[in-house]
Amino acid sequence: MTPFQHVRHRLSRHLINGSILTFAYLFLLGPILFVALASFDYGQRAYVVFPPEHFTLDAYRHIPLKYFEALWFSVKVAVACTAMACLIGIPASLGLVRSNLPYKSFLLALLRVPLQIPGVVAGLAFLQAYYAIGATTGWYATGTFWGLAIAHTFAATPFVIGTLVALLQRFDSSLEEAALALGASAWGTFKQITLPVLKPGLFTGALYAFMISFTDVPIGVFLTGPDHVTFPVEIFNAMQFDFEPTILAVSTVVTVLSLACVLLVQRMVGLDVFVKTGGAD
């Protein structure tokens, strides 16, 4: 191969790689950017014009109150879901990795079963379970805050357990033994050694749990009531029945807020934990 052929060969390879990447990332990120772009072109019509005809913030000024109410409800549900998922997930992962029980991998597989259950099946299952519980106790959890938060916890807990178990399995427990041997109390050891080591996994797992709840549609479709609708379900309904340009604006607001959250967590623990545990989808 002459030097010229070599350069041409490398150039064509770069060109092919570049086009594949451009195509994939345009497909992946284009829709998100396009929603933001279209939100600045506000018109009284049921579709979007491209390229935008005007630049205005009108869509942002006209966002109906119901979207903010739904947003606030979603945040509350997601916070409750995250708290419960951590309360179950932290002792479960610590107990599972540290104990010397038999069939550990089976127990872990059992804890991870909810990952395999499609959202629609989980939503239907919890709705029918709430009906059955309501029929015997008289208390119906359908359409309530806790009814939704519990179903989301079911779906989100495996993510907390997944990140924590992955971290704990690499964790050298001789550090803790050394602290104990040097006279630290059990609580002191947990606070000074265990917790700092677990922190990245905990933040990552908690962020996953929050986002599972915050972006969920299939479970929410079954479990939201007329008074309590989560934000994604509200948008889902709006897209099915009455498209308004304001949903572009409020979607953009939520996207920016979500990304700010991810950035914040990334600042605290670094992004490589995410890459290792593989996305929130």
Binding site: I20, P31, G95, I117, A125, Q128, A129, F154, S251
Partner: protein, 282 residues
């Protein structure tokens, strides 16, 4: 003092199993009671709901459509995600990390927002149609709403991100030196791909493909919105049967069918991947 870790695990394990057990038990038994209409169920146990699913061509078409759409989406996602993951894994600059970060960050954006964007881009007045008309590929705008193509695109968009992350973690286990050695010994790029990369990535590829297929089979949000009531896959029909028609028994039987399909594919994937690893297949 030695901490009893099994006692730490116990309450968490019990709560998890209670959530799993209650929810799954109730709907699975519900699927064994015949619908009487108006949301009421018969008291006697029977397999009526399942025989209805098996005999009614509507449900059989739904199942076939779900499998077809998921299979196409899986194949196309695989064809796009693997090269992307491979290119990123072999990048020598910091760009690779930035590209992975973009995938991770995009996975935190709500799916309804992504589907909204997809619908806008591929709508009749959207930039995609404008581009095709400008290039002379088509004369009149084509809409993807309510079409199979649109639904497949939605499912691809849903699984592309984690497929790239998944295959990235597979490709980085193949040492670059191995490829260089093969090339040094005179193998062509296609030869390196066929004889080094493909065999070493095969377990990850098969496992990943089955994960994507499963996720596509369960995909609801994008299919419901883009399918717009014209493309009925199992998850969409489950939602309609339960919430619009109030046929709890039939909906539960459909959900059981979907759950069993997904679980069987999962077990098969574990078995197939371990057989490939041990060199028993291929």
């Amino acid at each position: 003092m030695k901490l009893r870790w099994d006692l730490v695990l116990l309450p968490a394990m019990l709560i998890s199993l209670a959530l799993l057990g209650t929810s799954q038990f109730v709907f699975l038994t519900g699927s064994l009671h015949r619908d009487l209409g108006m949301g009421r169920l018969a008291h006697t146990l029977s397999l009526d709901n399942y025989t209805e699913l098996a005999s009614d061509s509507y449900y059989l078409t739904t199942l076939k459509l779900s499998i077809m759409v998921s299979a196409i989406a899986t194949a196309l996602t695989l064809l796009l995600a693997f090269p992307v993951a491979y290119i990123i894994a072999r990048m020598k600059s910091r760009w690779g990390l930035a590209l992975l970060a973009a995938v991770v960050v995009s996975s935190f954006v709500s799916i309804v927002v992504k589907v909204l964007g997809l619908i806008l881009i591929f709508s009749a007045n959207g930039p995609f149609n404008k581009l095709l008309i400008a290039l002379g590929v088509i004369d009149a705008p084509v809409s993807l709403i309510g079409t199979l193509t649109g639904v497949v695109l939605g499912l691809m968009h849903y699984s592309l991100g984690f497929a790239v992350l998944l295959f990235y973690s597979v490709v980085i286990t193949v040492p670059r030196s191995l490829e260089e050695a093969a090339q040094g010994m005179g193998a062509s790029r296609a030869g390196v791909f066929r004889q080094v990369i493909l065999p070493m990535c095969l377990p990850g590829l098969v496992g990943g493909a089955l994960v994507i297929f499963n996720v596509s089979m369960g995909g609801f949000t994008s299919t419901a919105l883009i399918g717009a009531g014209k493309v009925l896959t199992i998850p969409v029909v489950i939602e309609r049967t339960m919430l619009l028609e109030n046929n709890y028994g039939t909906a539960a039987a459909l959900a059981a069918l979907l759950l069993i399909t997904v679980l069987v594919i999962n077990l098969a994937s574990v078995a197939v991947v371990s057989r490939i690893r041990r060199g028993l297949i291929l």
